[in-house]
């Protein structure tokens, strides 16, 4: 089953009634559903042969958290992997757990809970997985901040330093972080100052 073959099959397929996967640039076949329909859609996918759960990822937007699941089929002939997308509002970040369908979802959902605060209803053991159980907040949310957190500079050192003078309290942890991270950066990246705007245009 090669790449071209998949392409030739057309770029959409109806898995079951009302559930249709379409091809999306960069990530392959996608299925976007409302969060109420997530479990139903996932069940349909499982029945259609998508038996391997690969991951779930949260993406934090100002109002909502988008969830992207990836499932793979070991049985199907084409369209082997699907990205299943849904969205939960930040005010009520709950969604059905997919552990009843794939045991593998267990740790992945715990991870998403740990870092995004999405609550998976029906998960057998929804605890933090990486962070200590008494941790406050969800680090991968864009608005997360705590005393340990530092914002990395991206070549605007002087500007940042000027800003830091105004806010001395915020400056202290930042500088220590710079020292720590300095040896990890290869030299040609550390002094990458040129910003190209047309690089991406060219490649499209």
């Amino acid at each position: 089953m090669s790449d071209e073959n998949i392409m030739n099959q057309g770029n959409s397929e109806e898995i079951s009634a009302g559930i249709k996967i379409v091809e999306e640039k960069g990530i392959g076949y996608t299925l976007t559903v409302e969060r109420e329909d997530l479990f139903k859609a996932a069940s349909a996918l499982k029945e259609a042969g998508f038996d391997l759960f690969l991951f779930v990822s949260g993406i934090d937007y100002p109002e909502s958290i988008k969830l992207t699941y990836r499932v793979y089929s070991s049985k199907r002939q084409n369209k082997l992997a699907v990205m299943l997308k849904t969205e939960v509002p930040k005010s009520d970040p709950t969604v059905d757990s997919l552990v009843p369908l794939w045991s593998a979802a267990n740790w992945h959902e715990r991870e998403t809970y740990d870092l995004y605060g999405v609550i998976f209803k029906g998960h057998p053991d929804l605890r933090r997985i990486f962070l200590p159980q008494d941790w406050v907040g969800y680090p991968l949310r864009k608005d997360y901040s705590d005393d340990h957190m530092t914002v990395m500079d991206d070549g605007k050192k002087d500007k940042d330093k000027a800003a830091a003078k105004d806010k001395p309290a915020a400056a202290a942890p930042k500088e220590s972080a710079e020292k720590q991270d300095a040896p990890e950066q290869p030299s040609d990246i550390a002094d990458a100052n040129e910003v190209s705007t047309n690089g991406s245009d060219k490649n499209e």
Partner: protein, 402 residues
């Protein structure tokens, strides 16, 4: 004079004031069965995080009854550095060195998967020569990682000598890497749109000589470790997993293929120049520890085949796509790139909002998915077997915790 001092084991159990919740549960639940007159107590052993064979910083509580492990409670996160958050504060190029530090036994494939995701996101075409070099270094990395696996599998089973032999071979690969990119462990070699620099003169010949030598030696190594009577006795039939179980628990890579599921990203979702290369996806069917171990030895042989073909086919030309600046702005969108890393299906899901930094990078580490199956796989086996089973899942905790 009837005062019998409380048994040590019991005392130990009750005085466990390591503040873990799991631990408290254990102490309170009273593991002693009261149906028989004489019972052996169930012990909770802490395995790691500082344990000689914990494969990095892994903590698990083994509940053992005699020598049999009845329950395993894994506890991860000791190496969590939140790379996904760091990625959001780095430019696309700047994040590559961080990927080195995930699966530090196979850094090259991490670079590769990440760069592939960004290339898909930005729609960058990689030149032919760069793709070939990527395949060569990627397969060398697979060999190196599997050699580490074989050596640790041996040493966990008590054979300390094969360990040194395999590390000696791996040394050859690290030397090759040193020649091509200057680093032995964290390479930062594969870049967005290609590789950092062309292979130095004679490097391809050195590589060919190395794999030719290794191919000959693999015969001896197979007999030394996998063919050993005691090794077989320890590995065959231990912790078997069926294909259904493996899929349900989301295994990828060698542990999944050992159950008969032929899922190899190089064939299932072909990338780079793999469609043009001849090799077999190694599949075993019993899914026990021995199959998980053997599959890696066989994959080394397949990797040697791939490297030989790639070196034969490699064209002349540039090794990096034109016009890719160190800092660039891909259009808003999403990209998912995954490769068959030595550990399994390693994927990067990159979301761009049109700025110089990724909006979100999700790392799908195969070790994370594979490690999850450890309790299901090895409950009911002996303590020694659990160590081996953990070894055959071959997790690297830099990747599990990220």
């Amino acid at each position: 004079m009837g005062l019998i001092k409380m048994s040590k084991l019991e005392e130990m159990k009750i005085s466990n004031h390591n503040l873990s919740e799991l631990e408290k549960d254990l102490a309170l639940n009273g593991e002693v069965e009261s149906t028989e007159d004489i019972v052996t107590e169930e012990l909770a052993i802490h395995f790691g995080p500082q344990h000689p064979s914990a494969h990095g910083v892994f903590h698990a509580i083994f509940h053992v009854k005699g020598e049999v492990v009845t329950k395993i409670e894994p506890d991860i996160g000791y190496l969590h550095r939140c790379f996904e958050k760091i990625a959001e504060n780095r430019t696309y190029t700047q994040f590559i060195p961080y990927t080195d530090r995930m699966d530090y036994v196979a850094s090259m494939t991490n670079n590769w998967a990440y760069c592939m995701a960004v290339e898909k996101l930005a729609g960058i075409e990689v030149p032919e020569r760069a793709e070939h070099i990527r395949v060569i270094v990627g397969e060398l990395q697979r060999i190196a990682s599997h050699l580490v696996f074989l050596s640790t599998a041996g040493s966990e089973a008590g054979a300390l000598t094969p360990f040194v032999y395999f590390f000696d071979e791996r040394e050859g690969i690290l030397t090759l890497y040193e020649k091509i990119c200057g680093a032995r462990l964290t390479y930062n070699y594969i870049r967005i749109g290609g590789v950092r620099a062309d292979a130095p003169e004679g490097w391809l010949d050195d590589t060919l000589a190395f794999v030719t030598r290794l191919k000959k030696r693999m015969y001896d190594y197979d007999r030394l470790v996998l063919g050993n009577y005691i090794f077989k006795k320890r590995f065959i039939g231990v912790a078997p997993f069926s294909a259904e179980q493996a899929l349900d628990w989301g295994l990828t890579g060698p542990p999944l293929r050992s159950t008969g599921v032929s899922y190899d990203v190089r064939r299932s979702d072909p990338y780079s120049v793999y469609p043009r290369l001849e090799f077999d996806v190694v599949v075993k069917y019993k899914g026990d520890n021995y199959d998980r171990a053997c599959i890696r030895s066989d994959e080394i042989k397949q990797s040697i085949r791939i490297i030989e073909q790639a070196i034969e086919q490699i064209p002349e030309g540039p090794v990096k796509a034109d016009g890719i600046a160190k800092v660039f702005k891909p259009a808003a969108g999403e990209g998912y790139g995954h490769v068959e890393s030595p550990k399994g299906d390693l994927g990067f899901y990159v979301v761009s909002d049109g700025t110089t930094k990724p909006y979100r990078v999700k790392i799908q580490g195969p070790s994370f998915g594979n490690l999850q199956a450890l309790p299901a796989m090895s409950e009911g086996t002996y303590i020694g077997d659990v160590v081996l089973t953990l070894g055959t899942l071959d997790p690297v905790f830099g990747e599990v915790d990220r």
